[in-house]
């Protein structure tokens, strides 16, 4: 979808995307020639169609809506908010920034499972820090 400022015959530029509110996005465009601003307010169906394509509305750096998030978070084991470890619970393990970066590269819907599984793999080997060597060891161990 593109927007044209009719008086200027000039393509309008996207300015901001507001956070979703009851299924609606507020997307502000402005004309670079005359400065006229307008907002596109989507209904839930329109928002959903775009979300379903797995694309993001807004500038690439914007975090607002669509794409990247797990599409079915309620279904994923281990997706619950991490609680501090208590007596009897597994000892917390630390992730190095390199290992976290690798984890961030993978689809969000497998991230909680990957995190839980790798932490279990590390604990079983007496490691309390997960770095890229641990990840490589897990890949080798599971024949990947």
């Amino acid at each position: 979808m593109k927007f044209l400022c009719v008086p200027c015959d000039s393509p309008m530029k996207l300015q901001t995307v507001g956070p979703p509110e009851r299924g609606s996005l507020s997307i502000v465009y402005s004309c670079p020639e005359c400065g006229y601003e307008m907002a596109m307010l989507t209904n839930a169906y329109e928002t959903q169609v775009v979300q379903s394509l797995g694309v993001r509305i807004g500038p690439a750096e914007a975090s607002a809506e669509a794409g990247g998030r797990c599409p079915f978070p309620a279904m994923i084991p281990g997706n619950e908010q991490q609680q501090p470890s208590q007596a009897g619970e597994p000892i917390a393990v630390r992730w190095t920034s390199g290992a976290e970066a690798r984890l961030a590269n993978i689809p969000e819907f497998v991230r909680p499972m990957a995190r839980t599984g790798i932490e279990r793999f590390a604990r079983e080997r007496g490691a309390l820090e997960i770095d890229e060597k641990i990840l490589d060891a897990a890949r080798e161990f599971f024949g990947m």
Binding site: M1, K2, F3, L4, V6, P7, D9, P11, M12, K13, L14, Q15, P20, G23, S24, Y29, A44, Y45, T47, Q48, V49, V50, Q51, S52, L53, G54, V55, R56, I57, G58, P59, A60, G67, R69, P71, F72, P73, A74, M75, I76, P77, R102, L103, N105, I106, P107, F109, V110, M113, A114, G117, I118, F121, L135, A138, R139, F142, G143, M144
Partner: protein, 316 residues
């Protein structure tokens, strides 16, 4: 006020003002092409009819081909009723992040498998978050294909001789998969929404083919015939079909006995790659994720081997 006739039109304007929606879709496609760059063949195993044994045949044929030394992976595309995780014994699989992508779990005989059954417990139904509550019929398929794209682009498929898609039931789904996979085929570059969807020059790409499964019943044959008709309308490569549950193997008598009324092989107007009898022992193997190699030397295994050989010869 400007007249409609004289103002700029859609195609006069470069870009969409900031979101780059079309470019994002093209980038998704590029990630898929990149992910499949090392795959020689994609074979989508479909039917149109449910319950004919697509998943079982997919896994068993993959195992028979793996035993011949081929590098094989299975993508369980039935997101709503995944069965490959259980059958392949990867329900408790560990997903390990590599430097850029995720490693795939493997069966004990080395077949890489992605199945939603490794991600979501069997006690849960796949339910996407949505803004349009209660209106999933308007967007669900789009969401599922976006997920499929993410899976193809995010997991390490690596160098494969064959990637087998275990398709969901439904003749219309088979056609949707043909629409999705067809543009990835090096032999059928095409454009959609004004974008070139085929791999860029110099990049490897798979040959995409379809294999259909039926059983010896007129009801199933009729539904599969519709899938043949629908696939034949496009530039899809139909390898043929397999008649599954073609009798059943009685271990007590060591003989194949009739299972359905019809003893004639179903005729679908495409090559028949073979017939496979039903084997209760094979069904038990699938339930507990036991590998093909432990099936033993039976007529069913020989039948699967013959179909695998036929499939291999058809692909070459």
């Amino acid at each position: 006020m400007a007249r409609v006739e004289s103002m700029k039109r859609y195609h006069d304007i470069v870009g969409d003002g900031g979101s780059r929606i079309l470019e994002q879709v093209a980038e998704q496609r590029a990630r898929i092409s990149d992910g499949l760059a090392g795959v020689r063949h994609v074979v989508a195993v479909g039917s149109g009819k449910g319950g004919v044994g697509k998943s079982t045949l997919t896994l068993q044929l993959a195992s028979a081909l793996r035993a011949r030394g081929l590098r094989i992976a299975i993508l369980d595309a039935d997101f709503n009723g995944p069965s490959q995780a259980r059958m392949a014994g990867v329900q408790e699989a560990l997903f390990v992040p590599g430097s850029h992508k995720v490693s795939l779990p493997r069966t004990s005989n080395g077949i890489a498998v992605f199945s939603m059954g490794s991600v979501i417990p069997e006690s849960e139904a796949l339910e996407f978050e949505s803004a349009a509550h209660g209106e999933s019929h308007t967007w669900r398929a789009t969401r599922e294909f976006a997920l499929l794209g993410e899976i193809l682009g995010s997991f390490e498929w690596g160098a494969l001789d064959l990637l087998m898609f275990d398709l969901p039931p439904g003749a219309e789904r088979t056609v949707q998969y043909a629409d999705f996979l067809g543009p990835l085929d090096v032999a059928h570059p095409s454009t959609s929404l004004g974008m070139t969807l085929s791999p860029s020059k110099g990049q490897g790409s798979p040959r995409v083919s379809f294999l259909l499964v039926t059983i010896p019943s007129e009801v199933a044959r009729g539904v599969v015939a519709r899938s043949v008709a629908a696939l034949s309308k496009g530039p899809n490569r139909l390898l043929g079909y397999v008649e599954n549950m073609s009798g059943y193997y009685c271990r007590d008598c060591n003989a194949i006995k009739p299972l359905f009324g019809s003893s004639e092989i179903s005729r679908l107007g495409i090559p028949c790659l073979g017939t496979v009898p039903f084997d209760p022992e094979l069904a038990r193997h699938c339930d507990v994720g036991m590998p093909f190699a432990e099936l033993g030397e039976t007529p069913v295994r020989r039948a699967l081997d013959q179909v695998a050989q036929q499939l291999l010869e058809t692909l070459i």
